[in-house]
């Protein structure tokens, strides 16, 4: 049995399939908050799976994300180079709201009394200009330990150019008998940029003790080795997660985007945008030419960066629970505040009184009054109407018109986010298909697509557990990186080639024992024109001319210019990949879901100002013309007039006219 388990804040999603029997089981279970082992046991039980049958287990978790966002990580002690302990607190000095006089800066990740300085200095060329003083280091470590830190972080100035001092500090600490976990900046992010490096190092350290517990707890629950989804949409062995948990910061949404690419492939789109809309947020990712887009830095909080390889994911505060309101300029706003699960939208009848996006969609007739989750969650249309009447009065319009306004504004927010993400990558969204999933994805997909000029929308099969499907699609991948500031001409030099070999060995070592299937190593290089600030990553294969050509093409695609100027290397990295062909077989087993006992009735759709037919997705064997609604257990797709919906390999493709 191959198992994919995605644990979010509220639910644990499970997908299991048996390659011999060709059987697929999915389940969605509420978390009980008693640790990962218990959540897993509950999910297995509800799916009727015997843990001893599991041969292969892939896991995605929002644990690291939540730890960091809620600042619930461990107590960190930080050692810095003399003169630089405040770098972590000064941050980028860049205000989130430039004109806000009452803006409170993000507090430092480590309080000042736990950030200690030591002498010793490496210069920009990696030469030691001032030796480390071992006795001073010992005194500092003693002081931090006396302050009951749970983990030690070391981030020295210029260490990217030479990690020697950081390694010596680790050795000194171990020789002193310190058994705490230690995170060195050069072991997490040996790249230039003192602030981003110290921030990433500390974030990693904050997560280490909790993730050690997590991994160890889960290891006792199940026999096969567990693989964890990282932010770059590959999977890592547990041993790596214990040391570098920061790589898991976007574990959950990465799996969804990866599944989105599988779906895009199955229905034949090479360019796509994935949009995962849940209760409070909307995650966006771009796929171009069948490739997922990556970034090398994410932001955990305002001004708090983590330099890790990650899918280029963007999150905005827009989802089913987002609250609709009027601001002081008289305009309608939707979100970012959400009604959450409790009290939830007004129509849940759990005491929510403010109008939400879900309420709007119910008023508009997109969502069936018969309820969500296949009727397990009944909805109160009157409560939704009442919530919207209050808001509508402020605009002097009808409740239906206000709901329509809310619908188009939340869609505009999502379209705006997609526009920004794509332009950043030099991509025209109109050339992409929109792949929408998550509880509310299908309700908004066609409208968002229309605002962007996108003509193809895909609603995947098993959309409500798509992230768990994505886990099973992931290959093992690990990246090892280092800053190397040299002219491009030196890329083939012995020195740089040695660095690539070292990076390769480092990645191999971190991967540990593997399943023995074939492994491929790819070399990458981050390049820029001399004098620029941002680098463009390209594959480092081939001769200098080929690499330069690749860079200039990519630069032109991204920025529209080809400068022909001298080029320099910034970073080198190696990515090792080991394919997992077997687990991907799950995509052959998709089903159209179950049919209901009673056929759905037509209902009035305010957006079309007409009564429209409602189809059950599992019954759809041929194309249908909009306007109509297509229902399934966990979601409903709005097909506008002038659009056609086609079932394709269990997925639904909506073509907008």
């Amino acid at each position: 049995l191959n198992l994919g388990v995605d644990t979010g804040g509220t639910f644990t999603d499970l997908v299991a399939y048996d390659p011999q029997l060709g059987k697929l089981v999915v389940s969605k279970e509420l978390n009980r908050g008693q640790g990962p082992r218990q959540d897993l046991a509950a999910a297995l039980e509800s799916a009727g799976i015997d843990r001893d049958d599991v041969q292969d287990f892939t896991h995605g978790t929002t644990k690291v994300t939540n730890l960091l966002i809620e600042r619930a990580g461990a107590k960190v002690g930080l050692l810095c180079t003399r003169g630089f302990r405040d770098v972590l607190e000064i941050q980028l000095s860049y205000r989130k709201r430039p004109f806000d006089l009452f803006y409170v800066k993000t507090p430092p990740l480590v309080p000042r009394h736990l950030r200690l300085e030591v002498g010793g200095r490496i210069d920009a060329k990696g030469r030691e200009t001032d030796p480390l003083d071992a006795s001073e280091v010992r005194r500092a470590i003693d002081e931090l330990v006396a302050n009951q830190i749970e983990v030690l972080a070391v981030a020295l100035y210029n260490s990217y150019a030479n990690p020697e001092h950081e390694r010596r500090i680790e050795k000194i600490a171990r020789d002193m008998g310190v058994t705490l976990p230690i995170t060195l900046s050069t072991s997490v992010v040996p790249r230039i940029g003192e602030y981003q490096r110290v921030s990433t190092t500390v974030l990693n350290a904050m997560a280490v003790p909790r993730m050690e517990e997590y991994v160890d707890d889960l290891n006792t629950a199940i026999r096969p080795p567990i693989l964890y989804m990282h932010s770059g949409a590959g999977v890592l062995p547990a041993a790596e997660v214990r040391i570098r948990p920061i790589y898991l910061a976007f574990s959950g949404p990465a799996a969804g985007a990866l599944a989105g690419r599988e779906v895009a492939r199955q229905v034949g789109f090479r360019n796509a945008i994935t949009m995962d809309i849940g209760g409070t947020s909307c995650d966006i990712c771009v796929i171009w030419n069948d490739e997922l887009r990556y970034r090398d830095e994410i932001e955990v909080d305002w001004g708090i960066p983590a330099r890790i390889q990650s899918l280029d994911l963007h999150t905005i505060g827009a989802g089913g629970g987002s609250i609709c309101w009027q601001d002081t300029g008289g305009a309608m706003r939707v979100g970012p505040r959400s009604a959450g699960a409790v009290p939830g939208p007004a129509c849940y009848g759990h005491g929510g009184a403010e109008p939400t996006v879900t309420d709007a969609n119910l008023v508009l007739g997109i969502i069936s009054p018969d309820g969500l989750l296949g009727g397990r969650l009944p909805l109160q249309t009157q409560a939704a109407l009442k919530a919207f009447e209050g808001l509508a009065a402020k605009f002097q319009v009808s409740a239906e018109d206000a709901a329509k306004g809310a619908y188009s504004i939340v869609n505009a927010n999502m379209a705006q986010a997609i526009r920004q993400v794509t332009v950043q990558k030099g991509i025209d969204p109109r050339l992409c298909a929109l792949i929408a999933f998550g509880g509310a994805g299908a309700q908004h997909a066609t409208a968002v697509a229309e605002q962007l000029g996108i003509t193809n929308v895909v609603i995947p099969a098993h959309g409500s557990v798509l992230s768990a499907m994505g886990l099973l699609s992931a290959d093992i991948s690990i990246t090892s990186v280092r800053t190397m500031l040299v002219p491009l001409e030196e890329l083939q030099s012995e020195r740089v080639q040695n660095v690539y070999r070292e990076l390769n060995e480092d990645a191999l070592r971190r991967l540990g024992t593997t399943n023995g299937s074939e492994m491929s190593a790819e070399r990458f290089v981050g390049l820029r024109y001399v004098g620029q600030s941002h680098m463009v990553p390209v594959n480092a294969a081939g001769d200098l001319q080929a690499v330069a050509e690749r860079f200039e093409n990519e630069h032109e695609r991204l920025f529209g210019t080809r400068l022909g100027d001298p080029i320099e290397v910034v970073d080198c990295w190696v990515t090792l990949t080991q394919l997992r062909p077997q687990s991907k077989q799950v995509w052959k087993l998709l089903s159209d879901g179950a049919s209901p006992a009673v056929a759905p009735r037509p209902r009035r759709l305010v957006l079309e100002d007409a009564e429209v037919p409602v189809f059950w997705r599992a019954d759809l064997k041929a194309a249908v013309q909009g306007p109509c609604l297509i229902e399934e257990t966990h979601s409903v797709t709005y097909v506008p007039s002038r659009a056609q919906a086609h079932p394709r390999r269990s997925h639904l493709v909506v073509e907008l006219g």
Partner: protein, 569 residues
């Protein structure tokens, strides 16, 4: 396709968001294509959209000081342009016609669709060099605007899509770092291409009337929202003043005085009584004065109001000609966006504090602390660096001031010191918060910063700064913050720049020769305190002492905490 009718209010709102998002796209495009760290990492530029008459519709809250005169500059371009054609791109930096200072160069593209002029997209960015007597500008010794750098009147950089090679040659021959300059200029141009494309899409989809009603929605939204914020403010005239402490020649302080009147849903700022203009770069170009008034008014009343014509039209600004805040040609103005703007903003905020008590923080460090260094490395390569830095902001009703944060008139990202060391002959010694630099108060001022680096080559230093003699002034019984400072450590001894070079001013100078091995020390001071120090929460004070934000000695003297001085003695 829509035949073009007026839009309902929600669709208009959707399009207003689209215009805002278009400006964001301009910003992103600039960052991704720029050459200089100043653009790409510092994000020292601002983008905006204008209607066909040149009135501001949408702008990004980029660099506050860039915003004020944008509309005037675009208006001036329209006036001078003659017949405008598709594909024309204008360039402008004239500080006497809507420009802020010469280094802030505006690129402006008329946007066309369906054969009509739809409006203008503009991008104003800080160039690392624009010629003049000091590399990188900020020449404290300049006596007129000609010495400060190249002035570019409204000109066509491109005519019907073709670059004017003559103009290009002229520009590149008059600035240091021509390659970088051209790279940044291309980035600015690229951002306006994106804007035009987006606006054309709106017109294609919603027709011209639809596009125009989106513009109207943007303007009326800002107007309504600003009026809502202004409504509860009582009708009165209040006055306040602040000072530039010297002119770099030994004269000063120089007064900036404002009378602020609210009446009939409008605000009028009158600077009568301000000092006459100076023969030193401490004058505030009128564009900067306007920016300082509008931004500080928005910051106090409602920081979320999107700035455009809707607001600009409700704030009237009068300043006597040939005064410090509205200088006449050819008074030097390069320093405008640095200190003079901050001083105007502080004067306006002091006045506002009398109208809306509790909503204005105590004063900030408030200086640009702009410094440039230039020279040649051992291998003969020319270098030029530009340094700026944030300090402590003022305490506020309910919270301490932020440390190492920009004053309201500026917002830039710190550049990486490690990256600097690979580009320039410098080696950083420290970048640290300064203990006791925040003024004491019930809510204390934020801490200032010290940024020090060793020069690995002989370097000529130029600077314009202020608040080196007197720091930020406290509010409601709070104490003042540490003043700003420039110093040099040579052979282990620290001396102020003023002392070392026997200068008339501690903060304004040009081309002073520092030597290889010197450590240049730049101190950005602290914010002032708000409320009586004796009212400070004792637990908060203890935490401050534990973290070293406040020394035990200062806890005893400034806060009268006997307990703490005993505990640590």
């Amino acid at each position: 396709m829509n035949e073009g009718r007026e839009l309902d209010e929600f669709t208009a709102e959707v399009l207003r968001l689209y215009l805002v998002s278009t400006v964001r796209e301009m910003v992103v495009t600039t960052v991704r294509t720029a050459y200089s760290t100043c653009f790409a990492e510092g994000e020292d530029f601002t983008c905006g959209l204008f209607d066909a008459a040149g009135k501001m519709v949408a702008q990004d809250q980029g660099v506050a000081v860039h915003t004020g005169g944008l509309q005037d500059a675009v208006g001036h371009i329209i006036e001078m342009a003659g017949p405008i054609e598709e594909g024309d791109v204008f360039i402008h930096n004239d500080p006497y016609r809507g420009g802020t200072h010469q280094a802030d160069v505006l690129v402006c593209r008329p946007m066309f669709g369906q054969g009509e002029l739809l409006g203008f997209a503009a991008n104003r960015g800080h160039w690392s060099d624009i010629g003049g007597m000091a590399a990188g500008g900020w020449s404290g010794g300049a006596e007129d605007v000609i010495q400060e750098g190249l002035t570019i009147p409204a000109m066509r950089l491109m005519r019907r899509g073709v670059v004017d090679e003559d103009l290009r040659a002229l520009l590149l021959s008059n600035a240091r770092l021509p390659r970088q300059l051209w790279g940044d200029l291309q980035a600015q141009v690229a951002s306006t291409i994106v804007a035009e494309r987006r606006v054309q899409e709106v017109v294609e989809r919603y027709g011209l009337p639809g596009y125009r009603s989106a513009i109207e929605a943007a303007i009326s939204y800002s107007r309504k929202r600003f009026l809502a914020a202004l409504e509860p403010v009582s009708e009165a005239t209040v006055e306040a003043e602040d000072f530039m402490e010297d002119d770099g020649r030994g004269n000063g302080p120089l007064r900036i005085r404002v009378a602020l009147t609210k009446s009939h849903g409008r605000l009028v700022a009158d600077f009568a009584g301000s000092a006459m203009q100076a023969t030193a770069p401490i004058n505030c170009s009128f564009a900067c004065t306007k920016a300082a008034v509008i931004v500080s008014v928005l910051a106090v009343l409602d920081p979320q109001v999107p700035l455009n014509r809707g607001v600009i039209e409700l704030v009237e600004i009068h300043a006597p000609e040939a005064s410090l805040v509205n200088p006449s040609y050819p008074a030097p103005v390069f320093g405008s966006p640095g200190d003079p703007t901050h001083r105007v903003a502080e004067a306006v905020m002091r006045a506002l504090a009398k109208l809306v008590p509790g909503r204005v923080p105590a004063m900030s460090y408030a200086s640009g602390q702009n410094v440039t260094g230039a020279g040649k490395t051992a291998d003969g390569a020319e270098f030029l660096w530009y340094s700026y830095q944030a300090g402590g902001c003022g305490g506020r009703l309910g919270s301490d001031g932020n440390s190492a944060e920009w004053h309201v008139m500026a917002n830039c990202k710190n550049e990486s010191m490690e990256v600097w060391e690979t580009r320039y002959p410098v080696e950083f010694v420290r970048f640290a918060l300064i203990a006791d630099s925040g003024g004491a108060g019930r809510w204390r001022g934020g801490l200032g910063t010290e940024r020090s680096f060793r020069l690995l080559a002989d370097t000529r230093l130029s600077a314009t700064s202020d608040h080196h003699l007197v720091g930020a002034v406290g509010s409601d019984g709070g104490q003042g913050g540490l003043p700003n400072g420039f110093a040099v450590e040579r052979a282990g001894i620290r001396r102020s720049m003023q002392d070392l070079f026997n200068l008339p001013s501690p903060s304004k100078f040009s081309n002073l020769p520092l030597l290889q091995g010197d450590v240049f020390v730049s101190i950005q001071g602290g914010g002032a305190g708000y409320g009586l120090p004796s009212d400070r929460d004792p637990d908060g004070l203890l935490a401050d002492v534990n973290c070293g934000y406040i020394t035990p000695e200062a806890a005893a003297t400034d806060y009268g905490s006997r307990e703490l001085s005993r505990a640590t003695s």
